[in-house]
């Protein structure tokens, strides 16, 4: 177990280096030089050249990479052109909003997916199973932005029940419960959209895993002992099912971050995804690269966490 964790940790080092190389290449490939917008446009060409030289613009590529890496390791991801602030503080100001949205949609998808998956597995090849399966497929197949816009059209525009976009009602100062309620009202639709895809895939996973567990010997033993069907499913099978599901949920975090980009863009939710889209639209390259770097590292850490959790849960896992 300790050996596995250690080896798995060693493995992340080359991946971390790989991530940094890809991000650095994208930084280098970006059109124009990133410093031109920071300099006084009235400077002569000669002076500009000198300043670029001082900044290390003409260093050999390997030297540039290590200089960049050293700065990145110290948390210096550059300076956002659009916001005139350091990239890290811009990201920091939006990060919480994405965490709230993702966390809530994750909870919702778990609450829906696991019971549905279990029901569909225990009633395999019945009408209930088919209906749940078809809904899962529909959830996997509908483009999230299309689903989001349908919801906006029906609930916000036509019925007028919910706000169209944003996170808080502008021009009104609320506090306490009213404030929380206002945010919840704004969050409901983006949360459903973001939860949709993960719910569908989690449901499929729960179903197939549960079917497998119900075929095992210890379930058969329990059944032959005369244990009630209900307690077999909820006490014996589900308990064994929940642990691997934790790792599946952890593994879904990267796809949640990817989905947040589209969802936040449609609903104008002020999180990392929306920030990323805006940065791309306004060609704010330092900010784009900072976000990409951070998101990739988050995915790496969650994947590592999922693997370690899995090894903790399932003692049979061996490193190959």
């Amino acid at each position: 177990m300790k050996k596995y964790v250690f080896k798995r940790l060693i493995q992340t080092i080359p991946v971390l280096i790989g991530i940094s190389i890809i991000v650095f290449l994208l930084v280098k490939l970006q059109p124009g030089d990133p410093f031109s917008s920071m300099m006084d446009p009235n400077l002569s060409q000669e002076m500009k050249g000198k300043m670029l030289e001082q900044l290390g613009y003409n260093d050999p590529i390997l030297v540039q990479y290590f200089k960049w890496l050293l700065r990145a390791l110290q948390g210096d991801l550059g300076y956002s052109i659009q916001f005139k602030q350091s990239v890290l503080s811009v990201i920091g100001s939006r990060f919480g909003n994405t965490v709230i949205l993702s966390l809530c949609s994750m909870i919702i998808s778990i609450l829906i997916a696991i019971p549905c998956g279990v029901i569909s597995a225990t009633r395999q090849r019945t009408k209930t199973d088919y209906i749940v399966t078809i809904f899962a497929f529909m959830g996997l197949s509908i483009p999230s932005f299309f689903f989001g816009m349908l919801l906006i059209k029906v609930f916000s525009v036509d019925l007028g029940w919910l706000p169209i976009s944003g996170m808080v009602t502008t021009g009104v100062t609320l506090s306490g419960w009213a404030f929380a309620f206002d945010i919840a009202k704004h969050m409901l639709l983006p949360m459903i959209v973001l939860a949709l895809m993960n719910t569908a895939s989690l449901m499929r996973y729960t179903r197939s895993d549960m079917i497998e567990i119900l075929r095992t010997d210890y379930i058969r033993t329990a059944r032959s002992k005369g244990v009630r069907r209900r307690s077999i499913i909820y006490q014996h099978a589900l308990k064994n099912e929940l642990l691997p599901l934790i790792t599946v949920v952890t593994m879904q975090i990267p796809s949640l971050l990817s989905g947040a980009l589209l969802t936040e863009t449609i609903f104008v939710w002020p999180g990392i995804g929306r920030l990323n889209y805006n940065a791309v639209m306004s060609r704010d390259y330092p900010l784009i690269m900072g976000i990409v770097m951070m998101v990739a590292v988050i995915s790496l850490v969650t994947n590592l966490l999922a693997d370690i959790l899995y090894a903790v849960v399932d003692k049979r896992v061996k490193f190959d």
Partner: protein, 292 residues
């Protein structure tokens, strides 16, 4: 094409079992029929409509669906129905091409990794891990911002980011097949490594690869639609289902002009749904125990 590939797999007996299992699966058959329909519509687009792709009708701009314009016209007076037909060519074409690209990269790297093992395997697998760390839309819009949006660039972006799944599958299959006796026999006969991989190992990895490729086409359609919707994919005037959908970013269109975006969204939804049904049916038919 698909059935031909599957039929390569085994003798006549097996062929029939697989085909029968697939035909018996109702959802898969419905999916297959819809999919064929969509492909035919895309191929025969010029025959099915009397308008040219970009022809402008100045007399009717943003007009309601009518007999003259089956699904109305857009803000430039172009026939929406026509653009959906041509858009299908782009959307399906991008998805299929990107799948071919990712199959090429994934099968090559996966088989090298699985067959040679040791440090080569280590290097390739760390590359897989690295690419998998970048959530798709985050990295895709970044690359699109650097290299610019176009049809070819989208195919490149999807292909270069999505090959990791196939590579992992092929690697795992080859790892488990490598030690079997028929490979030892092939070695004893003096076949080269390339011959062993290409003629003896790869045909045996076919079923999971086919299932994965089918689902990749579905993902490809969703990804193209997402990128084009954000304005970082296929560019106007070339139509794709995704960039037709982006009309709905305008509040007026969202509220009053349903024909500009709902049909495009439904087409994406239905085509992806049918491909997913077909993929699921193929998995059940080829190997019910397979886990993808």
């Amino acid at each position: 094409m698909l059935f031909y590939l599957i039929c390569l797999k085994g003798g006549r007996e097996l062929k029939h079992t697989i085909l029968r299992r697939f035909l018996k699966n109702k959802l898969a058959m419905i999916g297959f029929i819809f999919l064929t329909l969509f492909v035919l519509i895309a191929i025969f687009a010029p025959i099915l409509t009397t308008y040219a792709r970009d022809s402008i009708d100045l007399m009717s701009i943003e007009s309601y669906p009518s007999l003259k314009h089956l699904l109305g016209t857009d803000e430039l007076g172009r026939d929406v129905f026509t653009r959906l037909l041509y858009g299908g060519r782009v959307s399906l074409g991008v998805a299929v091409s990107a799948t071919v690209l990712q199959l090429f990269i994934g099968v090559t790297l996966g088989s090298i990794s699985g067959f040679y093992g040791r440090w080569i395997d280590n290097v390739i697998m760390r590359l897989v891990d690295t690419v998998m760390c970048f959530p798709f839309f985050v990295i895709a819009i970044t690359i699109a911002a650097v290299i610019g949006p176009s049809v070819w660039n989208i195919i490149l972006i999807i292909g270069l980011l999505q090959w990791t799944g196939v590579a992992r599958i092929v690697r795992a299959e080859i790892l488990s097949l490598k030690q079997s006796e028929f490979i030892e026999a092939a070695r004893a006969m003096g076949l080269s490594n390339f011959e062993i991989i290409f003629n003896h190992l790869l045909p045996n990895t076919l079923s999971p690869v086919i299932v994965n490729a089918t689902l990749s086409v579905a993902h490809g359609i969703l990804m193209e639609a997402g990128l084009s919707f954000l304005g970082l994919g296929v560019k106007q005037p070339q139509p794709s289902w995704g960039n037709i959908l982006s009309a709905a970013q305008s509040m007026r269109v969202l509220q009053y002009e349903w024909w500009l975006w709902i049909p495009a969204g439904l087409l994406v939804f239905l085509s992806v749904l049918s491909i997913n049904f077909v993929g699921d049916g193929l998995r059940d038919a080829l190997d019910p125990k397979m886990k993808i």
